[in-house]
Each structure stands twice: as C-alpha cells, then as structure tokens.
C-alpha cells in the first residue's frame, strides 16, 4: 500500500520538512497548552500572513517578513504581559488586539498587492508539496536550535509555567523565560508557516499538546506523547493526501481534531460512568 509514497523527491522533502515541523510543533505545543497560551500561539501563526505579504509588497523574500512580524509580535506580547502570568486575562486581551491589527494590516497589503492571489493562498494553507531543498535546510537549522533551547530550559520552564511564585523565589528568571519562550515560538512558527501554512502550524501547535495533557499529567511523558501525536498525524496526513487528492491541510487538521475529540469524549465517558 505504501508503494510509491516516497519515490518522488518532492514527497521526500515533504516528509522531511513535515517531520521537522511536527517535532518542534509537538514539543513547543506541549508548553503552549501547559502555559495556557494557545491564543498567543494562534496569534503568532496568523501574524505570518501580513508579515509575508508586506515583504512581498516591498520586494523582499517572504520569510524575512514572516520572521520580522512574528518576532515583533512575540516581543509585543512579552512586553504587554510582563507583569502578569502567562495565559492571563491581560495577556489574552493584548494578544487579541495585536491579532486584529495584524490581520487588518494583512488585508491592506493584500489590497495593495497586484500579483496573483496564489502566493497568499499558499501562505494560509501551505504548499507542503512544493518544498525545496533550501527550505528543508532552513527548517532543519531552526528546529535543531529551538529544540535544543527547549530541552535545555525545559525544566525551569515547566516550573515557571505551573508555579511561577515559587519558581521565582527559587531563582528561575520567570519573565525572561516567558519572553524567551515566545521568541522561540515566533521563530519556529515563522519558518514553518512558509512550508505548511498558517492553519497547519496552529493545528500542530495546539491539538497534540492538548491531547497529550488530557492523556497524562506526567511532564516528560506528556511531552513525548505530544511529539509522537504531531508526528503521527503529519505522516498519516501526508500519505492520505498523496493517495487521495484531498488537501493536506484538511487531512492533518481533521486527524489532529479527531484525536483530541476522541480523547475528550473517552475521558468524559469515564468520569460519567
């Protein structure tokens, strides 16, 4: 049945890039959900759209605009939420206003843009089957760097996420970590958006982590489950897209949502029974 799946170079690249993105999104996503920052992650993945549109309009490479806008948005939330806990009301409100403004900017740039709409479509929904070797190399570099940073800072980050008062008293630089996490997230989102699109990054960034946290309350196991689920839905989604002709974005988001819904339903049934 798997015959032919990896025969073509574009499919090999799609699997490579997809695997890298899933590794990072699954890992970072665990922290996103644990910290209650799903909305911030949503905003960061959307901000890529006006960023890339602005860059294209000004004649730069889209990835530059992606990185610039994502990093600027991450710094803005980090600053506006500097005195409050991650995932707080103040942070959500700040995220919401930045998100609205950036989508407005995206609309403006789209309005000013005279080229074809295809590039914009790819930004929203990804162009996973058109990934070049250079994209894979760039993704690889960012994923390795981000994953290393997360692994190194993971334990204090968990501490700061679940128990910020005690963590701070024990010398964990809670605010710096908070800003640092948003920054890593922004970079990761920026490079992956150009491959899988805004919508897919977000699905991979939240659904696997949310599912993992429903399944287990052990931090290391939860992280591993989150990464494994992200990998599984990506691989399966790519294979289904190759054999079925349905859009990859639809397949991966459906798989991710289906798993989450299943786990929620089974937990609800268990606590009810």
């Amino acid at each position: 049945m798997l015959g032919g799946l990896l025969d073509f170079h574009f499919m090999q690249n799609a699997y490579l890039a997809g695997t890298l993105v899933a590794l990072l999104a699954g890992g970072a996503g665990y922290f996103v959900v644990l910290r209650g920052q799903s909305f911030a992650a949503h905003m960061l993945s959307q901000v890529g759209f006006p960023g890339a549109a602005a860059a294209v309009l000004l004649g730069f490479s889209p990835v530059l605009g992606l990185v610039a806008f994502c990093v600027a948005a991450a710094l803005a939330i980090a600053w506006m939420g500097r005195d409050v806990e991650a995932g707080s009301r103040v942070e959500s409100a700040a995220v919401g206003t930045i998100l609205a403004f950036s989508l407005g900017l995206g609309l403006l740039f789209y309005h000013l843009y005279v080229g074809s709409a295809h590039g914009m479509f790819a930004l929203l929904f990804g162009s996973v089957l058109g990934i070049g070797d250079r994209d894979v190399a760039l993704t690889f570099a960012v994923v390795v760097a981000s994953a290393a940073a997360l692994a190194w800072a993971g334990r204090p980050l968990v501490f700061a996420s679940v128990d910020p008062d005690v963590a701070e008293a024990r010398g964990v630089p809670v605010r710096t970590l908070s800003a640092g996490f948003l920054l890593v997230l922004a970079l990761a989102v920026a490079v992956t958006v150009q491959i899988v699109g805004t919508l897919l990054v977000f699905a991979l960034l939240v659904a696997p982590g949310a599912t993992a946290l429903q399944l287990t309350a052990r931090p290391l196991l939860g992280l591993a489950v989150s990464v494994a689920l992200a990998l599984a839905v990506t691989w399966l989604g790519l294979a289904l897209a190759y054999f079925s002709d349905y859009p990859i974005g639809f397949l991966i988001t459906s798989l991710a949502f289906g798993l989450y819904a299943l786990v929620r339903a089974s937990r609800a049934v268990r606590s009810w029974a």
């Binding site: 204090p156 968990v158 501490f159 008062d165 963590a167 008293a169 946290l213 309350a217």
Partner: protein, 267 residues
C-alpha cells in the same frame, strides 16, 4: 544572640510599594532553629516581609540578612510556600512532579533520571502524609491536599529556613494540628528556622519561640508571653481579642467578634 548566628536580621529595613511605605524602620533578629509566628491584620505586610527575605521585593531602606548574608533571590537555603489561591482545576501536572520541581526545578539542562532524587521526593511526600494522592494531577486535589503537597515541595530541597505564608489555610482542625506538629518536628530535628504566617494562632501556640508582628507600618518582635496577651493582641489587631487559659494550661486566642474579612479575601 550575636548578629552572626542569627537566621534573619533586619536593620531599619523599609519596603515601599506603589509610593507607599508598607512598613519601615523594621529591626529584628531571629535565631537559627527558631519557630516564629508572623502575625498581623490583613494588608499589614506579612507576605511582603517574607518576599523581602526572598529578595522578591526590594528594600527601600535599611538592610536585610539571611544567615549572615544579604538577601538574594534564588537562595537555595530557603523553602517557600506562598500565600495562594488553589491551583487551577485543569492544571495537568502530577502532585509528585510539583514536589520534584522543589528539588531541581531551577536547574538548567536536560533532566536525567535519578533514583536518589526520586526517593527523596517519595520520602517527603510520605512525611507529609500525601502518598495516597501524590500521583494525581495537582488541580484535582482538595485545598488541604494541595497544601500538604506544597509543604513537601518547600521541604524537599533540604532548606535551612522555611518561609510559610498561611500554610494552615484551608486545612481542617485536625490537619492544622497535624501539619503544625510536622513542621515543628522538622524544625527541631534538623534545626530548620521557620517563619510561619498565620491568622489563627491556636494550632501553633504550643510551639512558638518568637512572635513577629506586623501592624500599622511597623514590624516588631517579641516573646510569645509578651505578645500573646489580651491587651497586646487587641491593640495589634485593632479589634477585641481575648487570650484564655484552659484548665490543662494551654492558651487559646479568641476574637470577640470574628472580622468578616479574615479568610474571605486571602489576597
């Protein structure tokens, strides 16, 4: 007591928040291994005092030393239990993992498995009598169960000083007694200095070596027999309080009318 041997030494210390002195001119010393009750009305600055000793709130004047050295953030010699609401019911991390964070949560680097650390965590959980629910998610536990876990977290790092902000809050009468005795036991057995903020002093009354009271912008220090008296406490709280002696010789503190604000606000 010579200054060098004291666990806490404040010298004309003051804390200013939002342009207002919370307290000032605080001078006091706490000896090593002492069990200290920190008393005072809501909003007087008890929590601020603990935060100042942790280096979380800067002094606007004066000096503060812990074990003979200036206060600094992240001092591993101090175990801290902040005053708090409950954890979010949907916080998905096991109680045992939270205790473990008290041991090595502040260290950078990839965690490696350690049998010694695991058994240290298990011992502390057993010590506070929380083994039955330590594998459950912290958010699912009752307020009193969470409080025991947090005490284990404060103890697990082998601290020489415990700063406990209302640790008896949300415990039932039996557990208030049991936890107070537990803290006292650790304090005695390992020479740990304890500063414990409480609104209800009765459960800790038998153990108190010293009382720090915070009121009206001042921080004062005294022996229990000087402070735990009808006239002193009444002045301190600005409300009638009576200290009674039971037939078996124990002291009991009763508020003649219970201030409504006591446990309702917490923060």
């Amino acid at each position: 007591m010579s200054p060098g041997s004291s666990a806490v030494a404040l010298d004309r210390a003051a804390v200013r928040l939002d342009g207002r002195d919370v307290w000032r001119d605080a001078t006091l010393q706490v000896g090593q291994g002492e069990f200290v009750a920190v008393l005072g009305p809501n909003g007087a600055g008890k929590s601020t005092l603990l935060k100042a000793l942790l280096g979380l709130v800067p002094l606007s004047a004066g000096k503060a030393e812990v074990f003979g050295r200036p206060v600094r953030r992240g001092n591993p010699e101090i175990g801290y239990l902040p005053q708090r609401r409950r954890f979010d019911p949907d916080l998905r991390i096991r109680a045992a993992d939270l205790v473990r964070l008290g041991l090595d949560g502040a260290s950078w680097g990839v965690p490696t498995p350690s049998v010694a650390k695991r058994s240290r965590v298990a011992d502390m959980i057993a010590l506070v009598g929380a083994s039955a629910y330590a594998q459950r998610a912290i958010g699912e536990l009752s307020g009193g169960e969470q409080q025991r876990i947090l005490i284990a977290q404060a103890l697990v790092g082998g601290a020489r000083m415990l700063l406990l902000d209302e640790p008896l809050d949300s415990l039932d009468l039996n557990n208030q007694q049991a936890i107070s005795e537990l803290i006292r036991g650790v304090c005695r057995a390992e020479g740990v200095t304890v500063l414990l903020v409480a609104h209800d002093v009765n459960p800790i009354l038998p153990f108190i070596d010293r009382v720090v009271y915070v009121a009206g912008g001042h921080v004062l220090c005294g022996h229990p027999e000087e402070v735990i008296r009808t006239d002193t406490l009444t002045r301190l709280y600005g409300a009638p309080v009576e200290v009674l002696r039971t037939t078996d010789g124990r002291l009991v503190v009763v508020g003649l009318y219970e201030p409504v604000s006591h446990h309702a606000d917490g923060h």
